[in-house]
């Protein structure tokens, strides 16, 4: 794990959870250093939301422990854990105004009125809610505004940890990109440790310090976004982080039992391929225009099928142009090739 004193982090150890016979979480352990942003990534049903609820105290683990800054929280009720949470549907109290929603945590702690109002005002400014919106009931606020209220509500009592359950899932694309940067800004400004759950790998990589990939109740890999993207430990992780070419082939220095991976953007096409350590002739099968990029499906003369991502403004596109049936040289730089150390029971495509 990470070598940092235990008083400075969130530590989960050996968490198990399940109903009846079906385990939802298997022996999950991880550390999050204070002030860092961790995203748990995985498909629906992988257990990431369950893990979040366990950390928050809404579910009791069958075994394992949860430590926050050295304190064992495993048996503490949620109201005493000092953990803020933003729910996927925001769970704003419909009968309270935005301001009253935010001040809720201070109201139940009996904070003095003047200090309470002061902190709420500062939080409202921090998340960017106008005076007009403050007295409105949640039903009259837009999705983005509700999100801000939910964030302010979870942060105003200065929690040690902030949990976010797919906070951007209910927003449209444009708003999502805008808000995710604001989310990161808020986290850095307040310095709170954050654990977010999402199924969108782009979102995860864009704003996190660490990414943990989960599937079927297990934590498969945890590391920085670059590590996970370029050095996935299982084919599942590789594919989940983005399109990947995974195949078995004879390469110097690589064993045949473990699959090899190269990302589509790392494969070189055309004359530049000859500069790569491994270049072969190939034929283009299909081309898809995606806007800034193009996805090209090629097959080498040796029978290897590869997805290649090329910038639309790349010279080989404008030069001879590329189209199906065309012959082209395909290059794989040895530094871009990664041997996947682990397996997840999947078959390997050749």
């Amino acid at each position: 794990m990470i070598a940092v004193p235990s008083s400075e982090l969130v530590r989960l150890a050996g968490l198990n959870f399940g109903y009846g016979g079906a385990p939802l979480l298997c022996d999950v352990s991880l550390d999050v250093p204070t002030g860092k942003f961790l995203t748990l990534l995985g498909p629906s049903g992988c257990g990431k939301t369950t893990l979040l609820k366990l950390i928050g105290g809404y579910l009791k683990p069958q075994s394992g422990s949860i430590l926050l800054r050295g304190k064992d929280l495993t048996h503490t009720p949620p109201e005493e854990r000092g953990i803020g949470m933003v729910f996927q549907n925001y769970a704003l109290f419909p009968h309270l105004s935005a301001k009253r929603n935010i001040s809720f945590s201070l109201d139940v702690r009996g904070v003095a009125k003047s200090e309470r109002d002061d902190r709420v005002e500062r939080m409202l400014d921090l998340v960017g809610l106008t005076k007009f919106e403050r007295d409105r009931l949640p039903a009259l606020l837009s999705g983005g505004q509700q999100q801000r209220v939910a964030l302010a509500r979870a942060l105003v009592f200065r929690p040690d940890l902030l949990l976010l359950d797919e906070p951007l899932a209910n927003l449209d694309r444009h708003l999502r990109d805008q808000l995710r940067n604001e989310l990161r800004r808020l986290q850095e400004q307040t310095g709170v440790t954050a654990v977010m759950v999402t199924h969108d790998q782009e979102e995860a990589m864009a704003i996190s310090d660490f990414v943990g990939v989960m599937n079927e109740g297990k934590l498969l890999q945890i590391g920085s976004p670059k590590e996970i993207y370029h050095r996935p430990e299982t084919p599942f992780v590789a594919r989940f982080m983005g399109p990947a070419n995974i195949f078995s082939a004879d390469f110097p220095g690589a064993s045949r039992e473990k699959p090899l991976m190269i990302r589509p953007e790392q494969v070189v096409l055309g004359e530049a391929a000859d500069h790569c350590s491994w270049s072969v002739p190939g034929t283009i099968l299909s081309v898809s225009f995606l806007g800034p990029d193009m996805m090209v499906q090629v097959t080498t003369n040796g029978g290897l099928s590869l997805m290649v991502r090329v910038r639309s403004c790349d010279s080989i596109v404008h030069g001879k142009g590329i189209g199906p049936g065309q012959e082209i040289r395909v290059g794989i730089p040895s530094h871009a090739l990664w041997q996947i150390p682990g397996s997840d029971g999947e078959g390997i495509s050749t």
């Binding site: 109201e79 953990i83 301001k99 809720f104 109201d107 702690r109």
Partner: protein, 269 residues
């Protein structure tokens, strides 16, 4: 749906005629209550409140009425408290025995009242609840459970369960969650449930008749012998009074619900 407006009008008239037939017995009873003499002929020109005066001055009737009211209110409170707690436990938790309890709570509606009465007779003897109003309150509360349960459960299901979790995560103790979140949002359904329980208890006659004794004489127990053996306009008066009371309580409770909803709707920060 129909091509010609004339058919539509005819259909509406026919439909309301049927509805009218359903209300007719009640309306006729109201009409009879104003009859001037002791024959059960409805007044045409000679409306009189003579029997209302008899009803109001007869202590036996007043006592029966007040007993019915007391039992009704006590039953409403008891069944709503028990029913709300029960519904909350069923909706928010998983536990063994949930399936059986779910069936059990609906059973009072399905058991023939005569059978229930037949079983309560020896039970009350054994336990010493024979002739006590408390026993009647408990029985009525049990009989109201299905109605209350269905009403409050339906509202609870509409409420986002994350709200309570969110409140706890923000530091609210369970009692604070109940007072600040649960009651404001759920309260209107509880009031409706209480009104329904009151109406059921106040009008309950079948099991009540089985358990009737001089000390537990409620309104139905007084109406019954009159009805069976010597009907007079007094029965009609008692009926009218009970309908007005039940309606009044329902409207009153409904008003409270509207007020509460309006307040929480425009509540400012």
């Amino acid at each position: 749906m129909t091509p010609y407006p004339i058919f539509r009008t005819l259909r509406i008239v026919a439909g309301f005629f049927v509805v009218g037939c359903l209300v007719a017995p009640l309306l006729y009873a109201v009409w009879l209550s104003f009859s001037p003499d002791s024959f059960l002929t409805p007044p045409e020109r000679d409306w009189s409140v003579r029997w209302y005066k008899v009803f109001a001055t007869d202590t036996r009737w007043s006592m029966a009425l007040s007993r019915s009211l007391t039992v009704g209110l006590a039953c409403a409170v008891l069944s709503v408290l028990a029913g709300a707690m029960f519904a909350y436990g069923m909706e928010r938790f998983r536990f063994r025995g949930k399936g059986i309890l779910g069936i059990l709570v609906l059973l009072p509606m399905c058991i023939p009242p005569a059978v229930l009465g037949m079983g309560l007779l020896p039970l009350f003897y054994l336990v010493g609840l024979w002739g006590s109003l408390l026993g009647l309150v408990l029985v009525h509360a049990m009989m109201c459970l299905p109605v209350v349960y269905l009403i409050v459960r339906s509202k609870l299901r509409q409420m986002n369960p994350d709200l309570e979790m969110a409140a706890r995560g923000l530091g609210a103790k369970p009692s604070q969650v109940t007072m600040r979140i649960l009651i404001p949002l759920w309260g209107s359904a509880l009031v409706v449930g209480a009104a329904a329980a009151f109406a059921v208890s106040f009008n309950e006659s079948m099991v009540t008749l089985f358990l009737a004794t001089p000390t537990t004489e409620t309104l139905p127990a007084m109406i019954w012998p009159q009805l069976r053996y010597s009907p007079s306009p007094l029965v009609a008066v008692a009926s009218v009074v009970s309908v007005i009371l039940a309606l009044g309580v329902a409207i009153g409770f409904g008003g409270i619900v509207k007020l509460v909803d309006a307040k929480s709707g425009t509540k400012k920060g």
